[in-house]
Every structure is written in structure tokens, then in C-alpha cells.
Amino acid sequence: MKREGAWRIFANEYNDSNVVIRGTGEKKPSYVITPLGAKINRLFVVGVLTDVESLSGENELLRAHVSDPTGIYTLYSGQFQPDVTATLLNIEIPSFLAFVGKVRIFEPEEGMLYLSVRPEVVYEVDSSARDRWILETCKSTWERINAVRDAMNLSNPSINELVKLGYSRQLSEGVIRAIKSYKNIDVDRYLNSIEEALRYLLPEEEGVLPDEIGIETEEEKHEEKDDMEETVLEIIKEVEGDKGAQWDIIVEKCQQLGMDKDTVEEIISSLMDKGLVYEPVLGMIKTT
């Protein structure tokens, strides 16, 4: 069995995925196919560790969140990864964290898919490691965008045609699967992610006075955010049952009110930080 490569993927692309290839048989790997055709079994991420939570008394199962410029990765580490669990329990929060991990696919029922990561190795790094990762991930996202565009331009897209264009076999396989399985691939969404992430690496542009304008817009943003948090919390209360409210339904309801998916996710995690809601099981949100 050959070692699987570790993909560089931003959290939003990973979390947007709803196509999986399940390994059958004992040791066959499972894969997540992202909208841009990454065929992931293993990934490598550097981000900010924002929280670690023990889901059972003896620290048998931990949940942690690692954020990148586009979203949040959810990590689960259990008793089979004692080193990872120990590191996560002892690390200061927040800190820069790198992890190599395997895809973790939870599908409680058909059409409901929750993706997280089972880390194999985690280690603390510095901000320059995070910056290097962002740059590398931008480049690899850009390559996937181009592969998807090229595939859509081919009259008869096939794995071999993409390989001939110079893409790796693994990516070519993923892209062909992605263009078959995802109806409308929102390439612009990921182009925006790349641009945002790159700007994040650059110093503030000149001509803007960050202290004046910055403070005002920050305040406005805060007010706006508070309003939205209230709205989202109301929606959660409205739809939640005994076990909580399904993540997807919350997002859908909020989208009807004109919020975009990223904002909703951001708000839910902010509500979690404030302790107003929690996630009893992956994908379910419940008010406290």
C-alpha cells in the first residue's frame, strides 16, 4: 500500500465537499472529493488552534478546531492517537498548529455528510510556518481551479487528457469525479479565498489610515455581528429539537434571510465561543 500524499486545502474547500469514495475491504482508503477535484485521503494543514474540548471524562475523545483564513477544520483525536491527544491537551490556546491527518467521514444518514479530520501528527509551529502554508495552499488551490477549468473546456474530459495537460494522476482522477458529481462548481468562491488569503500575507495597503477607518468599521461590524448573532440564535431555538438543530437547516434558514454560508458558520462558532450554543454531536447545534 503506497503512502497517500498530504493535500494542502483551505478549510472552506474541504468543508464544502459532499462527495466521498468509500474504501471497501480492510485497508482500502476512503477519499473526500472536493468541488475543485482534490481527492483527499490525507491532508496537511497549518492554522490557529482555537479550542480543545474533551468529549469524555478520561480524555478518550477530544475535539479541536483549527482555523485558517477561509474557515475552520474540526479535529477528533481519540485513544488511538495518544501522542496527538497529549499534545492537544498541553498546548496553549490560541497557538499556531500544524497537523497531518486523515479524512474522517461521518454520514449518519443518506445525504447528511459531516467531514472532520483524524490527526496523525500535530505540532506547534510559528507564524512563518503558517504563512508558508497559506502561500502553498493558494498555489495548490489555483492549480485545482485551472484543472477544473481545463476539464470543463475539454470536449471529452478524461483522466488521461488531464494527465497529458500536465496534472498529476491523483488530481486528474479527482477533477473528473468532481465535474461529474458537483453540478455548479463555484470557482469564483475559491478565487476569492485565494485573493483574501494572499492579502492576509501582505502588509496593509498604503493610503488607508487603519486607526481611524479601521476602528469605525470595526465597531459597525461588531454591531452588525451582534444583530446577526441574535438572529441566528433565534433560528436555532426555533428549529432545535431534543438533540439540537441540524447544521444544514440552520444554514439554510439563515441563507433565506440573506446571510451567506461563511458568515453563518462564523456566527455559529462565535456563539459556541460565547457558550450560548454547543455541538452535542457533529453537525447538530443546541442552545445551552
Binding site: R3, E4, A6, R8, V121, Y123, W133, N160, L198, R199
Partner: protein, 423 residues
């Protein structure tokens, strides 16, 4: 139903062509199949197989396209090699090599447990299928493919286009090749084949695109430093490392002009696809450093790693201090295990063995490993060395290594401009 049957019979007749088989016979047999409850599609195939079997149309290799079924060919086995593969945890031997007829030379792979023909035999192959592999049509021989050795007759004028290629291209070129390369090392040994002693010459050769091992089954009076043109040699692979093989049927000319020899530079995932190579250069990020890296002690007798001053073979010994690294280096698409010896390790971590010993004395081996990890994890490395492929992937034995420094702001700026420019 009758009209459906008649449609199927029409189809069968058109496939069989003018074979002198009566329509009534086909229809009668087809109905019998249907009475037995055989699905019509299957009945159709059975009948085509049955009646078509009387006359096999031979296909020329040049006419074989990818993904064809039921290919019948007459050809000569040009080369035959074996490879061990792992299927569901079981080791299986497969055969691969080159086939040729009057029109073309193609690679083949046989998945049968046996392969009842040898190099040089002329065979009839029935019911093979084809696939495309790295841009070339490949003949596949499966469990249901028939191979029959033909005792009589050779295939005249086998078309063996000798392809000129560079070392970097031998990974994807099939059949006889012509290369121009410099002999970098050569040694002689005697082997016994079929009871007769024979001299073989082997070593390493290279051109400006890379290096390969070679084996010459004939004395061409080659010396280290010679620049030669070898026409009609073949590339074989051992653990992914190309071996250029030639004998008295090949033409070897010595050239006057010198050529430069370089390391084969490839993206890391490409190296994993190629499986291996001699003196390759590649780049990737260190994503993991294994526990057994750092300070180790070796047995002075056998160089094995020792634990608590004891060698598993030589018992209590005075260990020889050493440094090493075992890293996973990955480019986002594929990963290799990269192994560094003391010299490379000292350069990469910018500390020598005595520095490391001091650290261990104060803080223990874990402390040293922590320092090494802090220095190297997430860094991008440029690596040069020999790579070997096995069923777990590719291992790179590093000869030279350097950290690639990235100017993040400059690269981010340029990249942003490019992305914005293409919107």
C-alpha cells in the same frame, strides 16, 4: 418477441459477417438459449463467441487502439520480465515486456499466474484486451486470454523503431532505444547463464537529463569517462531505478565530444510515479520527522542500531555515536520517506554531533529531537539522492539537502497580481 429475436439475430449475423453460417441455425440456437432463460444479450455474446471462434481474424499491432476487447494477434516476445505485486495482501507475480509483429512494438502486461512463452518465442495470443498507459497502447493478457506457442515460422521484418531518447525519457519509452551517455563508473563480473560463463559489465551512465545503471552483456571495451552512443538497448527497471541493458546485438560507438552529466530534476509526485531513480533532485515540505531520528548509537562491528549498549547480534558493545533523520517529505500530491545520514543531518540542522551530544547531556534525546523538529518541520527542502520504490512507496536516500527559503511577501504579491490578472 419474434421481432426482438430477429433484431438480435440480425446483430449476430452482422458481427459474424459472411462466415457461411445460415441464419436459421443462428435463430434456432438463439431461441434455445432464450428458452433456457438466458438473457438475450448474453445469448448473443455466447453465439458470437461460438460461431466467431471458427475463424479468428488476426489484428496487426499497429491497428490496436486503447480499450479494445477480444484482440487476437500473432507476435514475437521481445522481452519478458516479472514483477511482484500485492493484491489484497497476497503477493502475485505478473509478467510484462514487449511484443512485436511486422507492424509495431507494444508493451504488454500479463495477469495470468503463468506465462507459457519465453523471450524470442513466436506466439498466437487470443482474446487479449488493450489499455492506454502513459500515452501508449498496452496489450493486456488476462485469465481468459489464450497464449499458444507457434513452433514454426518467425515473424519477418519486425518493426523495431529505435527511439532516440534522453535518460529522463527512458521511464516512458518502450522498446529499443538509442541513447548518448557518458560512462560514469564500470565494473566487470562473471556470471553463469545456462551453464556457460559470461562476462558482464555494469555501472552507471548519464547524460544532461539524469543517470541510470547499465548492464552490458558483451565486452565493448568501455572505460570510465567514455562518451558513447548505444543503439538498440532497452530500459529495465529495478525498484524504479532504470537499467540500460545491451548486448552484442546493440551498436556501441564511442564519441569524441564530451557531454555534461546532470542530476534528474523532477517534481516529487512525479518521482513517486516513476518509483525511483539514481541521482535525482526534487523538492518538498517536511511534514513529519519520525521518532527514531536524531541521536543514535551503532554497533562498531556491524553498524546496526544498538539499544542500551547492546547489539542484537554482537551483544554488549561500545556504541559509535551517529546522527540520522527519517522524514516524510511531501509536495501536496505525494510523499516520500527521506533518510539523511550524519553529514546531511549536521548540515540541515546546522549543528554537529558534539553540539547534539551536549544537548542530550543537558536535556536528553527528546530535547534534541524537539530542536530538530522545530528547525525542520514545515520547511521546504531541496533534496538530491537515490530513490527506491517498493510496495509502500518511495524512499529517498539523501546525498545533498538544503532548505529552500521562501520570500513570502514577494511571492504572495506576484501571485496575487497573476491571479487578479487572469480574472
Amino acid at each position: 418477441m419474434d421481432s426482438e429475436i430477429s433484431a438480435y439475430v440480425d446483430e449476430i449475423m452482422s458481427v459474424l459477417g459472411d462466415e457461411g453460417i445460415s441464419r436459421e441455425d443462428i435463430e434456432k440456437e438463439f431461441k434455445r438459449f432464450i428458452e433456457f432463460g438466458v438473457p438475450p444479450e448474453q445469448a448473443k455474446r455466447s453465439l458470437i463467441r461460438k460461431f466467431g471462434g471458427k475463424k479468428i481474424t488476426r489484428k496487426f499491432l499497429k491497428d490496436v487502439k486503447p480499450n479494445e476487447q477480444s484482440i487476437n494477434i500473432v507476435c514475437k516476445i521481445i522481452t519478458k520480465n516479472t514483477r511482484e505485486i500485492n493484491v489484497k495482501g497476497e503477493t502475485k507475480t505478473i509478467y510484462y515486456g514487449m511484443l512485436a509483429d511486422e507492424t509495431a512494438v507494444l508493451p504488454f502486461t500479463s495477469w495470468r499466474p503463468d506465462f507459457p512463452a519465453e523471450k524470442g518465442d513466436v506466439v498466437e495470443i487470443r482474446n487479449a484486451y488493450s489499455r492506454e498507459w502513459q500515452g501508449t497502447v498496452q496489450i493486456n493478457i488476462g485469465e481468459r486470454t489464450g497464449i499458444k506457442k507457434l513452433d514454426e515460422g518467425d515473424i519477418p521484418n519486425i518493426q523495431q523503431d529505435v527511439k532516440k531518447c534522453k535518460i529522463k525519457d527512458v521511464y516512458s519509452t518502450f522498446g529499443p532505444i538509442e541513447i548518448e551517455a557518458k560512462i560514469l563508473s564500470i565494473s566487470e563480473k562473471e556470471v553463469e547463464t545456462d551453464g556457460t560463463k559470461k562476462k558482464v559489465f555494469s555501472g552507471v551512465l548519464g547524460d544532461d537529463t539524469g543517470k541510470a545503471q547499465f548492464t552490458a552483456w558483451h565486452d565493448f571495451n568501455l572505460k570510465e569517462g567514455d562518451v558513447v552512443r548505444i543503439k538498440g538497448c532497452y530500459a529495465k527497471f529495478w525498484r524504479g531505478i532504470p537499467q540500460i541493458v545491451f548486448d552484442e546485438r546493440s551498436t556501441v560507438d564511442k564519441l569524441k565530444e564530451d557531454i555534461s552529466v546532470g542530476s534528474l530534476s523532477v517534481p516529487l509526485h512525479k518521482l513517486v510515479e516513476m518509483r525511483g531513480g539514481i541521482d535525482v533532485t526534487t523538492e518538498g515540505t517536511v511534514i513529519e520527522i519520525k521518532e527514531n531520528s536524531g541521536y543514535v548509537e551503532r554497533c562498531p562491528e556491524c553498524n546496526r542500531l544498538i539499544k542500551n549498549g547492546e547489539c542484537s547480534v554482537h551483544g554488549k558493545v561500545k556504541g559509535v555515536a551517529d546522527l540520522r533523520l527519517k522524514m516524510i517529505v511531501d509536495d501536496g500530491c505525494a510523499g516520500v520517506s527521506a533518510i539523511a545520514n550524519r553529514e546531511v543531518t549536521e548540515k540541515l540542522i546546522d549543528m554537529n554531533l558534539s553540539d547534539c551530544k551536549k544537548i542530550i547531556k543537558d536535556g536528553g534525546e527528546e530535547e534534541l529531537l524537539d530542536i530538530i523538529r522545530k528547525k525542520l518541520l514545515t520547511k521546504k527542502l531541496r533534496l538530491r539522492g537515490n530513490a527506491f520504490g517498493d510496495e509502500f512507496g518511495t524512499t529517498l536516500i539523501i546525498k545533498e539537502a538544503a532548505v529552500v527559503n521562501v520570500d513570502i511577501q514577494r511571492e504572495a504579491q506576484q501571485f496575487l497580481q497573476m491571479v487578479e490578472g487572469e480574472r
